[in-house]
């Protein structure tokens, strides 16, 4: 789990910053802070007010209202204007945001959040507990798919006073604390949205949140401008005068803009992986790979467990043995990934690496296939299958082609289907595929993001990103269910460890990569990535030097 792009100097300054920020009052009930408190006070430099940060945005989201649009692009843009109750550190411990402190009852059924008293909406109205109730009980469940699932666990929600919210759950659900990330549950103004048609509310043209930056203007196809919110509830913040999101459709142009200093930040898939080594060698650019701990993206080759020969565990294991995941990590993703050991990304809580290992071993792969009775024909082919493509970038298509080649070497002949991304996702949702690629996000807790891919109750034809491989194992269902409801950390660990061992033995899908999207930051910008949300956080502490 070592992030080998750590720079000692950065580590110390980051630790110092983290330590200093958590010296603020009101942390009752929250766990202790993130990084070790090494070098407290030895900050590299003092934050300065001023400056405007330019961030690459590609492609442009359709709308910026976070509750209505949680595509990955909007998760970059909108959290500068909206706030959630919590944020999360690199180790996924919850940290205060709009909620300055919180208590969880010992039985795990009652969550009490104490809200910031001075928070205001961008139109000047005060932020109160009523907004929280409106958001989580009324608005989000109607428009926000993930929130609907998260808040379906809530039996009741009340506001004993304007700055306190109490959630009572139906059953204990420790994953609930992870429901309050800004994109998962952005706080929306009741006085604007209550009783209206949320999707067509005229206020959608100028988003109103409680975040450190206010919406200023949006030139479609060109730039989104935001300016400092002078009434932001954290005093003295934000340091920046404003933030701009610059739309640059072409990959090479994005690179040029970053190199020349016209933009200060490129993230996720803005830069092709093969260009990152060059960027990293530039003195003015710093490449960061932390900041995806909350999302913890995990890519796998999905196999339709209900079709032959993929219904046989031995076939799926053979596929795992046939893939050189180190090659994929190093030569296709240029080192910006880790090889996963199983269904839970190594940065997520309750990860357990103590499982069966699948190193590249073509002999073993062929032996398993022979054992199954899938012998090589005169043309060397054992079986013919179809593979859905990932036509979103050349890096991903190279991965598709690599998998095709690797499987061919053990006699599995794979034809890449000619389809676009939308059709590919649709066919995945409809269970109409042999093999396809899925990248899923964990959202902090296995109960939230991981279980949904492997439990029988989430096999729902017609809906993508559910248990589309249709793996069904009653013991796995039991374990996930118990772990979601258990209030005891060590018990949860035990349960998740067992489920990881079972899944790794059964290989419902072939896990390929724990993605580390490179974030390229101009060194003039500081404290950009300070939490497990990375660039999807509020940027209220980012400051700029000359």
């Amino acid at each position: 789990m070592v992030h080998n792009l750590f720079d000692r100097r950065d580590f110390i300054s980051r630790a110092a910053t983290a330590a200093a920020s958590f010296a603020s009052p009101g942390l009752i009930g929250s766990a202790a802070t993130t990084l070790a408190l090494a070098g407290t006070g030895a900050r590299a430099q003092e934050p300065r007010r001023g400056g405007v940060m330019n961030i690459i945005l590609q492609p442009e989201p359709a709308t910026l209202v976070l509750a209505l649009n949680i595509t990955s692009q909007n998760q970059l843009v909108a959290p500068k204007m909206y706030s959630g109750l919590l944020t999360y550190g690199f180790d996924l411990k919850p940290l205060p945001n709009l909620a300055t402190s919180w208590d969880i009852s010992p039985d795990g059924l009652t969550y009490t959040f104490h809200l910031a008293k001075n928070a205001k909406w961008h139109d000047g109205e005060p932020f109160t507990a009523d907004d929280v109730i409106f958001t989580t009980r009324d608005m989000l469940p109607e428009v926000h798919a993930r929130a609907r699932v998260n808040f379906s666990q809530v039996a009741s929600v009340e506001a004993p006073d304007p700055h306190t919210v109490v959630f009572r759950l139906k059953t204990p659900y420790p994953g609930f604390i992870y429901a309050f990330e800004t994109s998962s549950a952005p706080m929306m103004p009741k006085h604007i949205y209550a009783g209206s048609d949320y999707r067509n509310n005229p206020a959608n043209a100028r988003p109103i949140g409680t975040g450190p930056f206010r919406f200023k203007e949006w030139q479609r196809g060109s730039i989104i401008r935001m300016e400092r919110n002078p009434d932001y509830f954290k005093p003295g913040l934000p340091y920046l005068d404003g933030v701009n999101f610059v739309v640059i459709p072409d990959g090479a142009q994005r690179l040029i803009a970053l190199e020349s200093g016209q933009v200060h930040l490129a993230s996720s898939s803005d830069i092709e992986f093969n260009d990152v080594p060059r960027l990293r060698s530039l003195p003015q650019i710093q490449v960061e790979t932390r900041g995806y701990e909350f999302l913890a993206p995990l890519t796998w080759l999905e196999m339709n467990n209900k079709r032959k020969p993929m219904d046989d565990k031995r076939f799926r294991q053979a596929v795992m043995y046939a893939l050189d995941r180190e090659f994929i990590r190093d030569k296709i993703f240029y080192g910006f990934a880790r090889v996963p050991t199983g269904p839970i990304n190594s940065v997520v809580t309750f990860y357990d690496g103590n499982v069966k290992r699948y190193a590249l071993d073509r002999k073993k792969s062929e032996a398993l296939l022979d054992e199954m009775g899938l012998k090589r024909g005169p043309d060397g082919i054992r079986v013919k299958l179809e593979l859905n493509p990932v036509p979103i970038s050349q890096t991903w298509m190279r991965l598709v082609q690599y998998v095709k080649q690797a499987l061919r070497q053990v006699g599995i002949d794979v034809t890449i289907k000619n389809m676009d991304q939308a059709s590919s996702v649709a066919s995945m949702g409809n269970h109409d595929f042999d093999m396809c690629f899925v990248t899923n996000t964990a959202f902090g807790d296995p109960a939230v993001g991981v279980a949904r891919s492997y439990i029988t109750s989430n096999i729902r034809k017609g809906v993508p990103f559910t248990n589309t491989c249709q793996y069904s194992n009653p013991r796995v269902d039991e374990l996930f269910d118990a772990a979601a409801k258990s209030n005891d950390r060590s018990e949860r660990q035990r349960l998740y460890s067992e489920v990881q061992q079972i899944l790794v033995e059964d290989v419902p899908v072939a896990w390929l990569l724990e993605l580390e999207y490179a974030i390229s930051i101009n060194r003039q910008m500081h404290d950009v990535v300070t939490t497990g949300l990375g660039v999807n956080d509020s940027f209220d502490r980012v400051y700029m030097t000359a």
Partner: protein, 279 residues
């Protein structure tokens, strides 16, 4: 026939063109013998530069040999270009013959339709058709055929209009010869020469269209084509120029050869139209 061939080969450009085409056809035929493992195998290190013995034209991002891919690419180019041209010429001849022979309202209607197809920007139309009918080798061939037939129809129609009223045709009509016989036996043979010239240019154009379509990512994902290679090389053009360069040279050479052959055929088959200095 011999005279025609003789005139063709006197034309230096055409001789060169025939040579290149012959090479392309031979490579397409023996590709599996030269490189039995196919173009998709990862045979070398990634991004190996060209001009070395093992990989004369370099390798790509997955270690695939560029020369192997170019050789296999001949198959796709020839297949697509040849089949689509045959289809387009067939359709065009039929449409043009009917329109030119019968004239009148039918001719008007057919010409309107032809004009419609010629007004729509052909590359965009082909791209839209392929996108809608899902990219695969069949839809690509069909789309190229759909946008290529109008010039043939126009040409054939023009010829038919001219020949229709010649004495020997009128005579045949008076004698009661069936329409079909007249069209196929009396008139069509005279149309062959210009159509052949046009066909060679259409094959060239089809190769360019297919390259553009594959470049945009609409090609068949399981077939190695030159346009696809150029498109693939685009994102790494700074570090691996050879990935886009050599396939492009292959396209230029093949299309140029076809154009030269077309020019040569034009001069050979229509010597009365040859002008001073047009060689």
């Amino acid at each position: 026939m011999m005279a025609i061939m003789h005139r063709l080969f006197r034309h230096k450009g055409a001789a060169f063109g025939v040579g290149v085409i012959a090479l392309v056809v031979i490579l397409a035929a023996i590709a599996s013998i030269l490189y039995p493992d196919g173009p998709w195998e990862m045979v070398g290190g990634i991004f190996e530069p060209p001009f070395q013995r093992a990989h004369p034209l370099g390798t790509d991002g997955l270690g695939r040999d560029v020369l192997t891919s170019i050789v296999y690419g001949t198959r796709v180019s020839l297949l697509v270009a040849f089949v689509s041209t045959v289809v387009a010429v067939t359709v065009g001849v039929l449409v043009g013959a009917v329109s030119g022979y019968f004239g009148g309202r039918l001719d008007d209607l057919v010409m309107r339709v032809t004009e419609l197809f010629q007004t729509i920007p052909s590359f965009v139309f082909a791209v839209v058709l392929i996108a809608i009918f899902t990219p695969n080798i069949g839809s690509i061939v069909a789309a190229i055929s759909v946008v290529s037939w109008p010039p043939v129809a126009r040409l054939v129609r023009g010829e038919f209009l001219a020949i229709r009223h010649r004495e020997y045709v009128e005579a045949a009509v008076v004698l009661g010869v069936s329409t079909l016989r007249i069209i196929f036996v009396e008139i069509l043979p005279n149309v062959v020469s210009p159509v052949v010239v046009l066909a060679s240019l259409m094959v060239a154009n089809a190769i360019l269209l297919e390259a553009g379509i594959s470049f945009l990512g609409l090609g068949d994902q399981n077939l190695m084509s030159w346009g696809y290679m150029i498109g693939e090389g685009r994102s790494t053009i700074r570090d691996a120029w050879w990935l886009s360069f050599f396939p492009g040279v292959a396209v230029v050479a093949t299309v140029l050869a076809l154009n030269l052959v077309g020019d040569g055929l034009n001069d050979a088959l229509n010597p009365r139209l040859a002008r001073r200095g047009r060689a």
